[in-house]
């Protein structure tokens, strides 16, 4: 076996030194009834070539986004990742290192995390950012739990524009600790509706920008209303590229900002691994979940970095910890940070403008189609359209023509009664030809 260095001789010698007759002697503590006599009923080992053939065959049964017209968004976005980013995350010293618990020989990872935190702080406008969460949806759930801890209240209000998966993941987590999640009806331009249901029991309101329908909004009024009743404002962003152009959560009064960072540096990967961004006001820092990297000095007074404030964390605070998270999304954070370092503020803004322009071009093409109605009032790079019939069937029909037309809202939330709503997205990857093909196919399908 190519991955197992021990030879039979090694094993014999080592057993000898240990003083065991056979390997079985080392498994004596296993109850006899549970000892497996031999290999289980699974295929035995295979060479690289065979494994590569088998998995390549599976891969060939999927239709890559890059293989043709593609317009899916709704929380996962297809952007161009510079070749150097994927090269860097494959560096042995980044790829095969562990959580930087021994700072003196992990300064590479630690400095990257410090830079990552600084970048996330600059994008969200909130000073305290952590070293990453699993993804945007679990960050949202943790933010709600954090708000409940901070306010000592047990109710969270989720806007009708929040991504349904985020709402569900948040409910799952909050529910078990008795934190109620009140989710407003799905509504294309529904963020501001949260104000009406705020009360003194409210721990936090969760709004999304751009929201799941692509609608871009202003939250200052919501922030004021929330703060007026002692609730926190949590702003969710699923399309991180929008940070390059849209008002930052902090500018609108957010107390906590969470985001899905996949758009920057990370591929679609069928939904994971992604990277959760988490930032908050300075005053809430010690209530944050996840790891924090901090700057310090070494014995010679030189700058260095360490994991810090770990008394918030499970390995020290145990059942009093701010979260149970341990392994996070370090390598995806590196990819995010490296891509962000290539872009810079200038490049990110330009990229955001380009995305917006592409989406406008897409909208201009689709709005021409009889029977199709654009329902998103103000968008960044994605928007919702209402079709004359169930969006799911239209999407399947177009997929058969090799056009991936977007995401039917019913796939995210079948109970919302929005079966005819289709979410479409364009990015810098979307070409004029893609748009033309899509419009043509959709027009034909609707006419049919």
């Amino acid at each position: 076996m190519r991955y197992l260095p021990l030879t039979h001789d090694d094993r014999r010698q080592m057993l000898g030194l240990i003083g065991a007759d056979s390997i079985d002697d080392l498994f004596v503590d296993v109850p006899v009834s549970a000892r497996l006599p031999g290999p289980l009923d699974l295929p035995s080992h295979e060479g690289e070539l065979a494994v590569e053939r088998a998995l390549s065959a599976m891969a060939a049964r999927n239709r890559p986004a890059g293989a043709g017209p593609f317009f899916c968004g709704a929380g996962a976005y297809r952007h161009h990742v510079p070749a150097s980013v994927d090269h860097l995350i494959q560096r042995s010293e980044f790829l095969t290192s562990y959580t930087p618990y021994q700072p003196e020989i992990a300064q590479g990872t630690l400095q990257v995390l410090f830079e990552f935190q600084s970048q996330v702080a600059a994008l969200t406008g909130l000073p305290a950012a952590n070293a990453s969460m699993y993804d945007g949806s679990t960050s949202c759930a943790e933010a709600v739990m954090m708000a409940a801890r901070v306010t000592q209240r047990r109710k969270a209000i989720l806007s009708g524009g929040l991504h349904p998966h985020y709402a569900q993941a948040t409910h799952t987590l909050a529910h078990s600790s008795g934190v109620a999640t009140e989710r407003l009806l799905a509504e294309v331009d529904g963020e501001s509706a949260v104000i009406s249901v705020l009360d003194s029991e409210t721990a936090c309101v969760v709004v999304q920008n751009p929201n799941v329908f692509g609608t871009v909004s202003e939250f200052t009024a919501i922030a004021q209303a929330a703060h007026a009743v002692g609730a926190l404002l949590i702003v969710v962003t699923t399309e991180a590229v929008s940070f390059g152009l849209m008002k930052s959560p902090a500018e609108m009064g957010a107390d906590i900002a969470v985001a899905e960072g996949q758009s920057i540096g990370n591929g679609l990967n069928f939904g994971g691994p992604y990277v959760g961004l988490f930032a908050c006001r300075e005053s809430l820092m010690r209530q944050m979940p996840g790891r924090l990297c901090g700057q310090t000095v070494d014995a010679e007074g030189r700058r260095g970095f360490v994991l810090t404030l770990s008394t918030r964390e499970q390995h020290i605070r145990r059942d009093k910890a701010t979260s149970n998270i341990c392994t996070n999304s370090g390598l995806c954070a590196l990819a995010f940070s490296a891509h962000m370092t290539l872009l810079g503020g200038t490049g990110l803004e330009a990229l955001a403008r380009l995305n917006h322009a592409r989406a406008r071009a897409l909208r201009a093409a689709l709005v021409e189609i009889p029977g199709l109605e654009v329902v998103t009032p103000r968008m960044f790079n994605e928007f919702a359209v209402r079709l004359p019939r169930a969006a799911a069937s239209v999407v399947d029909a177009l997929a058969a023509k090799d056009v991936l037309a977007g995401v039917p809202f019913s796939r995210l939330d079948p109970s919302a009664g929005m079966d005819r709503v289709l979410l479409v997205c364009a990015t810098e990857m979307t070409t004029e030809a893609d748009i033309a093909d899509f419009a043509r196919a959709l027009r034909a399908e609707i006419a049919a």
Partner: protein, 517 residues
């Protein structure tokens, strides 16, 4: 996991600062990206916007940010160099043994990296039409088949994003099962030796945690368990092999007692590497167990993640598994994404989309490469390597549980350091100077000054001998009273010992223009 210290933050004595060089030999000093002067630059070339597009902002009136994010952009040569220089300040499994107990730092095959990057896996959207992702669903169900067969369990929930997330998933399934039969419960029992995520998860799941005592031979104290089991107990959480590197001999009895009390048995599977192919948790009475694909099945740790924590479930818990579920339908594979139909009783959703696909590809490639024969060999070699290290070091370093074999990791305490003026932390830092990454320190908490060594099966005997020789040499230096070598360590790392106390007292979590560069 591993701690550099628990409540024992390092605070080195300051030392006169030497003339600093731009670099030294091959090691380059590297400033922060903020110090590289890219404030108005970018390292990405984008097509020009059509002027109208640039101007027209009807959508965004009043919604754009006051000023562009003030972040530096670097040309590719500068950016690449920045990260390559930083990378060389890291230890990595590709450089030498990474003996962190409980972390299973094993070799990461490059084949897995290559396959995870096939566009058919890396460039597909989680919400594409099901007909266009049949290969992805086939891979997920193939992975599920391997996991179920290896654990002897009837069901598995793939979506949890890491071990701790898997623990949460398991406990939430138990909560759902209890609620479904109107039997709400309040507490979770776990041994003091449990990994921090166990109590943290139980609390997050809304339970109170009650600790179970440990016997002098490092196992769960059955009597104490029996005494604490009652109708309020929702679950018993046990790690097996446990965090002392020992197999819980009475695991079957633990399960029996737990079930008798109407509670469920959660097994923390972080140490599955020690028994894969030789023992099926399903044969031990387990109701739920997470599997850290980034440990046993070798997806890279990447400096802290990402990982994946699928949870295998018993018949009793299977109906409550979170969505999505992969279901076979006539024409091929489908996804049950909502709590309806077969997934009606589902506990809900653990996260957006379907989990860590990138890790599934790597883990399956790893499993197929080893096969059922190779995976069994993995467990045997992992246990053999640990016992070899234990046997070689035991003479000099004190082991809290000397008798009988250990499983995949060898545990020592600091009794042998008593009175030497050298702490576990000092000893660990001194290892760095001779080219080795320290073992896990101060965990498990039940052992004083714990040193937990997990070599894994991918270490050759030669590397184990190099490692043991070095530790024995250091131990000799301790006995010879060469204390500075330890208290001042490390001397040869890219930086000297770092001041963690200061970092915690005055948290400095991001660069600001006031900082030096």
């Amino acid at each position: 996991m591993s701690l550099s210290s628990v409540g024992r933050e390092t605070r080195p004595m300051p030392i006169a600062k030497p003339a600093s060089h731009p670099g030294r030999g091959l090691l380059q000093e590297e400033p922060l990206i903020f110090g590289l002067g890219g404030w108005r630059k970018t390292g990405v070339d984008l097509p020009q916007l059509p002027p109208d597009a640039a101007s027209d902002a009807s959508d965004l009136a009043g919604l754009t940010r006051a000023e562009r994010p003030s972040l530096p952009g670097l040309s590719e040569p500068e950016a690449l160099r920045h990260y390559v220089r930083l990378s060389q300040k890291n230890h990595a499994i590709d450089l030498a043994i990474y003996p962190l107990g409980s972390c299973t730092m094993k070799h990461n095959p490059r084949l897995c990296e290559k396959l995870a990057r096939l566009p058919g896996f890396s460039d597909i959207h989680p919400l594409q039409p099901i007909a266009t992702v049949q290969g992805a669903l086939a891979l997920m169900s193939e992975l599920a088949h391997w996991l179920k067969t290896l654990t002897g369990m009837p069901a598995v929930a793939l979506s949890p994003k890491a071990g701790a997330h898997g623990e949460l998933c398991g406990l939430l399934a138990m909560r759902a099962a209890h609620e479904a039969r109107g039997d709400a419960r309040k507490t979770v029992l776990a041994p003091t030796s449990a990994h921090g995520t166990n109590p943290a998860t139980a609390a997050l799941a809304g339970y109170q945690v009650v600790e179970i005592a440990q016997t002098i031979d490092g196992r769960v104290d059955l009597a104490d368990l029996a005494a604490k089991l009652n109708r309020d107990v929702a679950a018993v959480m046990v790690t097996n092999p446990n965090t002392c590197g020992l197999f819980e001999r009475d695991v079957i009895e633990i399960a029996r007692l737990t079930h008798a009390a109407g509670a469920y048995f959660y097994c923390d599977g972080a140490n599955f590497n020690a028994i894969v192919g030789r023992v099926r948790p399903g044969d031990l009475g387990v109701d739920a167990m997470h599997i850290n694909l980034h440990k046993t099945f070798s997806t890279p740790h990447g400096g802290g993640g990402p990982g994946a924590g699928p949870v295998v479930l018993s018949e009793a818990l299977a109906p409550f598994a979170p969505t999505p579920w992969i279901v076979q339908d006539g024409s091929g594979w489908a996804l049950a994404e909502h709590a309806e139909g077969p997934a009606q009783a589902a506990l809900g959703r653990m996260c957006a989309f379907h989990g860590q696909m990138g890790m599934y590809v790597r883990a399956l490639a790893y499993m197929m490469s080893h096969g059922s024969d190779g995976l069994r060999q993995v467990a045997e070699d992992a246990v053999l390597n640990a016992n070899y290290v234990k046997a070689r070091l035991q003479a000099v370093m004190s082991a809290p549980f000397p008798r009988g074999p250990c499983m995949h990791e060898a545990l020592f305490d600091d009794e042998w350091l008593a009175g030497t003026g050298v702490t576990t932390l000092d000893f660990a830092k001194a290892m760095i100077d001779v080219g080795f990454h320290p073992m896990t320190m101060y965990f498990p908490l039940v052992v004083h000054g714990a040193m937990l060594i997990e070599p894994t099966e991918t270490e050759p005997k030669r590397e184990l001998d190099r490692f043991c020789d070095a530790l024995l040499e250091l131990a000799a230096a301790v006995r010879d009273g060469d204390t500075e070598r330890f208290t001042g360590a490390p001397f040869h790392a890219p930086v000297r010992r770092l001041d963690e106390t200061m970092a915690a007292r005055r948290p400095h979590l991001r660069w600001t223009p006031e900082d030096r560069l």
